[in-house]
Symmetry: C2
Subunit: 403 residues, 2 copies
């Protein structure tokens, strides 16, 4: 499909702009024109009649673990662990038993999420003294294989800790040299019990290579907020504003107002973004309040049927609904906000260029059988079409060979 | 379909019983035999090959509002209200504008939930000075129309309060005389500000007619727990053990251990059941802890795209997953517990006779494309078949004319 018109579609802001139904003209992988419906196709242009379906900018997955999923295997019962450390050990034991390589599992999950309309993602990949860079190498290969399907950003993630696993800091450095886009971190207090040590190490690698960071932080309450402020301070000191994210940040949902406001202010000032998946049983960051304070909040699936959780499917429209449900987002504008976490805000954090549903942007689009953004989020109905750089990659939720 | 064999299926306890694949023989609306796979059909028996799909007892919806849904209408933006009273007023205003009758909306929702495998439900129906018994009369008609599809139990629900709406108590009495199965209630403290008054009124109606109660209770914290204990005490005094439920009971998720244990003990002793839908932004009853204390906990959808919430679809397998996700239920046995809330526990609360997946029970079944109960809950994949009293009522999630 070199040039095409997505004809007679609804736009996300349709009821606001008053544009009514629209035609979107695509050429050479870009959106070249958005006009009122009723245009006719030029020579060589395909006309795809969409009968009032809603077009959204492609969904952006802000936090996934492509190397962890067990999708494609017979259902693997969850092995419980009381502490994060116990669960890490349980995952390692399971990993040793698996005869199903990272590449194959990652590809299985990618096929699924492309069907849901994800056009770009940030994945973490375990880097520890057992896997070393094996997972990274697998995902680098996968990234190359699917480059026409979606954009992949890789975080070298020290799932087993940094300071308590001598050698991991060097591996993170090697990971970035070999192609990882960002450096990860994990509970500097809760896992390493050495906030200064871990942050020195991971910010050191980031500064040396000029890359960003995305740090898993499960630590709760005031200690977790203190870590967040320390991360913000180091981000400013290193001139990494806009390149650092903290994933989960449960602490922001488990402190008093004063601590919350102080921490949100520090995050906003350092432009440190917060990723949430709308967790079930634990407190979560208050999305609207953080946004009001100027903090960028974005969405991710996190675990998708892996050693950590049997739930999840990688549908970022459903994830927006999970976050919205958890946060009591009900009004249309609040449901639009939930979608923003999985579209524009996530795209900004990933630094995607040319992202959006306006003329000149990349034609990365998802077509949904819904009347409005609010309905698309609340009901997350099937995806009719997914388009990556102007080419149809999925229809009716199923991957198709690229046109 | 008079007699049939569901051939080569997985059973919910397959991996425990070691039975492996099984055949389920159905005749005259009942399960007559469950044996190892490989039997052949007798004369006049249909053989339905299911290739290892999972068979579950039909799903039971413990709390729905068939009269409230806006499904089938163009998406209606949510109108916010700060307090419960404001939201009640917003709903009434919307209701007056709707040209789409209760019967049609209820039927639309029933078509959908039958496709998901629901075989029985408890619905609340608004009874107030404006609707009077209009909603009840509509649902009584619908119940008659769909009697071959699913069993419906109706609660006369004073959505606008009892004591603050003079005349409602008499309407509740009339509702039961005209066919409602249970009496409802609503926040005796939070809405009526008269715990004794409302409980006197609704228990009075229940006792006079010998019916049960199902009371909406959103009141939080120690005051909510005190109401729960008062309900338990009145249940015992009226000899209504096993016939009273409290829906939502957020209070059980928002008090200290001592208050929780005391209240759970009182509920267990009076056999008062607790319904939860796994609410998003508010604390919820701790399911495992309540069950350990002997309290029956069951599941319901509550609002499905109505004036109260844009979310929800009526899929009780997904609802089990929402509750499981909110409660951190991850291990296979905990996911089985989540399913139990929407099957056996709900069936017990509704007083369904002959419910279950054993020989002699009603052939109310749902067939799921999953390998185990854990997978069925965590992924809630499409329903292959839904069977009500031995007849196929839905295939691939879609309603079919009854065979």
């Amino acid at each position: 499909m070199k040039a095409a018109i997505l004809a007679d579609v609804r736009l996300p802001d349709g009821h606001i702009s008053g544009l009514g139904r629209a035609d979107i003209e695509i050429s050479d992988g870009r959106i070249v024109r958005i006009v009122g419906a009723g245009t006719s196709a030029a020579d060589g242009e395909e006309r795809i009649a969409l009968n009032g379906a809603l077009v959204l900018p492609g969904l952006v997955e802000g936090h996934i673990h492509l190397d962890k999923t067990l999708l494609g295997l017979p259902f693997v019962p969850h092995r419980p662990g009381e502490s994060v450390a116990e669960r890490i050990a349980a995952e390692k034991a399971l990993r040793r038993e698996l005869a199903y390589p990272v590449e194959d599992r990652a590809m299985r999950l990618i096929e699924q999420i492309v069907g849901y309309g994800t056009v770009a993602l940030r994945t973490h990949v375990d880097v520890d003294m057992e896997m070393k860079l094996g997972g990274l190498h697998a995902l680098l290969k996968v990234r190359e294989q699917v480059r026409d399907l979606l954009d992949i950003q890789i975080v070298a993630f020290p799932q087993s800790g940094v300071m308590i696993e001598p050698g991991v800091a060097d591996l993170l450095d090697a990971a970035v040299r070999e192609g990882a886009d960002l450096v990860g971190g994990l509970d500097p207090a809760g896992i390493d019990n050495d906030v200064k040590g871990q942050l020195d190490a991971i910010f050191g690698v980031a500064e040396q290579h000029g890359v960003g960071l995305d740090i898993h932080l499960h630590d709760f309450g005031p200690p977790g907020c203190s870590e967040l402020r320390e991360i913000a301070a180091r981000t400013k000191a290193a001139g990494l504003q806009g390149k650092v994210a903290v994933s989960h940040a449960f602490a922001l949902g488990s402190v008093g107002d004063a601590d919350l406001d102080k921490t949100a202010g520090a995050l906003a000032e350092a432009d440190v973004a917060i990723m949430t998946n709308g967790p079930g049983p634990v407190p979560m960051p208050p999305v609207k309040r953080l946004r009001a304070a100027g903090v960028t909040v974005f969405a991710g699936s996190d675990n998708i049927r892996d050693a950590w959780s049997p739930y999840g499917n990688g549908d970022m429209l459903e994830r927006a609904a999970v976050i919205g449900y958890r946060q009591g987002l009900l009004a249309d504008e609040d449901l639009a906000l939930a979608l923003d976490l999985a579209t524009h805000s996530a795209a900004r954090v990933l630094g995607l260029s040319g992202y959006g549903l306006v003329e000149g942007c990349a034609a990365d689009l998802v077509v949904v059988g819904a009347e409005s953004v609010a309905e698309a989020v609340a009901s997350h109905p099937p995806r009719l079409l997914v388009i990556k750089r102007g080419k149809i990659v999925a229809r009716q939720g199923k991957r198709v060979p690229i046109s």
